[in-house]
């Protein structure tokens, strides 16, 4: 009992001693570095509005680092702006600009080195090489940051939120544009990416490499150089995302390469060159997604197997499906295809004749892309029709046996 009382007393005492150090032109403490020297674990540093050009700001104590009215921390294109090397640090409310550029050590707006329980919230990052970089971290939260860069093609630039070798991260409600990859995960496990908007990045909106057991939910990936890539990974959940306006020869709404045991549910793929491109993909369920107005709804390479494609809507795509081989190891069931011309005599809302999603012309253009010139010509339409009746070039088992008569309300 006495012990407990003592601990409680000690607790109160420690709270009482935690102090707030104000930084600003009107206070005795005019520089952030000065305040960092004065601070001890548990203190708060409150920075008032102004521009602070103090080179690299290294936080090596367990403190709360707050900005009031978005004070500007300027790296003058020479330094990494904020470095964190203590656990449980909170960085909130800053405008962090102009980190160093393109040297070998990847300078960042905010970089965290081997730490746990860090919170990076409500910051504005502008014109940094890398935005936020978490290296070897656990249990961290990156929330509500606005990260902007001005990368151009033909130029080296870092990623918006770069996470490497980490675990249990939450990346929530950030807005990222103009970086190489909006969000980049490499060797990151058990993490969630939720409600982010990743637009106009040079390469990918989101990029997974060797990152297992993660989920990304309700994000918007729009107008990125090459869409989203999930590679060399297993057990990833992808729910309720938008993949839009990713145009280009090697651009895909979603690029899946060497990935297994994942679940793609309730996403929308609209106006991409290819909605999904799959290569070396196995045991994936693609369910209740919308593929609309894409060049190719899905490109499934022959190296894919045991994938289930169920209950999706394919509407207004130039080609619904395309593949590069004759081997079919994936199943299509109960999808809605707007190109389906069958009938439903028994009124069970399922078409009575199977649908061949693979058109002859899709195969021809896969082998000879320039054949695209003949698209919608009379001869091709005729060939396509005869192929539907008597499949000769397209694999005859590439079918949806129970196509839906009406689109799903997704």
């Amino acid at each position: 009992m006495k012990n407990l009382l003592l601990t409680i007393c000690a607790l109160f005492f420690s709270i009482a001693t935690a102090k707030t150090i104000a930084v600003g032109t009107q206070f005795p403490c005019k520089k952030i570095k000065q305040a960092l020297l004065l601070a001890v674990d548990g203190d708060t540093i409150l920075v008032y509005k102004g521009t602070y050009k103090e080179g690299n700001i290294l936080i090596s104590k367990k403190i709360v680092f707050l900005g009031k009215d978005f004070p500007t921390l300027d790296g003058q294109q020479k330094h990494e702006v904020v470095s964190i090397s203590a656990d449980s640090v909170i960085v909130k409310g800053f405008r962090i600009i102009n980190s160093g550029y393109a040297s070998l050590d990847d300078p960042c707006g905010i970089k965290v080195y081997d730490r746990t329980f860090i919170k990076i919230e409500d910051n504005i990052l502008d014109n940094n090489f890398f935005g936020i970089y978490l290296q070897n971290c656990r249990n961290c939260l990156v929330k509500n940051n606005k990260i902007t860069a001005y990368g151009k093609q033909e130029q080296l630039i870092g990623n918006g939120i770069h996470c490497w070798k980490s675990d249990n991260l939450q990346i929530i409600a950030n807005k990222i544009s103009g970086h190489r990859d909006g969000i980049y995960f490499e060797f990151v496990t058990q993490s969630v990416i939720w409600r982010n908007v990743s637009n106009k990045n040079i390469r990918y909106g989101l990029h997974f490499m060797f990152s297992n057991d993660d989920a990304y939910i309700t994000n918007v990936f729009k107008n990125n150089g090459a869409g989203v890539a999930v590679m060399f990974t297993k057990n990833v959940k992808m729910y309720n995302n938008y993949f839009e306006e990713n145009w280009g020869d090697s651009a895909y709404g979603l690029l899946l390469k060497e990935i297994a045991d994942s679940y793609i549910f309730n996403n929308k793929f609209a106006r991409n060159t290819s909605g999904i491109y799959m290569e070396g993909t196995s045991r994936i369920k693609v369910e209740k997604n919308v593929f609309e107005s894409n060049g190719w709804g899905m490109k499934i390479q022959a190296s894919c197997m045991d994938n289930e494609i169920v209950n999706n809507n394919y509407m207004k795509n130039t080609f619904d499906i395309s593949t590069n081989g004759s081997l079919v190891l994936n199943t299509f069931n109960a999808n809605y295809w707007d190109k389906y011309e069958g009938y439903d005599l028994d009124k069970n809302d399922l078409g009575d004749v199977p649908y061949h999603p693979l058109s002859l012309f899709a195969i021809l253009t896969e082998n000879t892309p320039s054949a695209m010139l003949l698209y919608r010509s009379f001869m091709i339409t005729l060939l396509d029709k005869s192929e539907k009746v008597l499949p000769s070039i397209t694999p005859d088992n590439f079918i949806d046996k129970t196509p839906l008569m009406k689109s799903l309300p997704l």
């Binding site: 040079i202 390469r203 060797f210």
Partner: protein, 142 residues
């Protein structure tokens, strides 16, 4: 007139044969022919030219080697690797000096960097804590 036409025709034919020189990489536009990723860092880029003069571009030396091993049908003319210290500057592999491992971080984790001179290789060997390695060893390691 006829002569000019013929020369033009001949040059046209020659041009279409494809050069045996590496082509520059368009950063953030060209995809890697093995891993399909868009090449965004030419430091680690590599390039393969077939005997017919077709160019394949890669974002990592590991990608080039895996590509080369997976395809035994088309005969290869030459392998090129990019100078670690210079963007878009390809060196034939036989003339390159390679380092592997240490703090070298390449896009597809091949973690192999190429240098044009032995001096630079030695200089960066200490800086990157990497191992000097021959092309043959690298080829067999992926």
């Amino acid at each position: 007139m006829k002569k000019i036409f013929l020369t033009l025709l001949a040059t046209g034919f020659l041009m279409s044969c494809g050069s045996k020189e590496p082509k520059p990489i368009k950063l953030n536009a060209d995809p890697c022919d093995f891993c399909k990723m868009t090449i965004s860092n030419s430091k680690f880029a590599a390039q393969l030219i077939t005997q017919k003069g077709r160019h394949y571009k890669f974002d990592d030396i590991a990608c080039m080697i895996q590509f080369a091993k997976s395809n035994t049908v088309v005969p290869y003319e030459a392998f090129f690797v990019n100078d670690y210290l210079k963007d878009n500057s390809f060196i034939p592999v036989e003339k390159s000096f390679l380092l592997k491992g240490g703090t070298i971080n390449s896009p597809m984790r091949g973690n192999c960097a190429a240098f044009a001179t032995m001096g630079k290789q030695q200089e960066y060997q200490n800086q990157l804590h990497a191992e000097a390695i021959t092309w043959k060893e690298v080829y067999n390691s992926y």
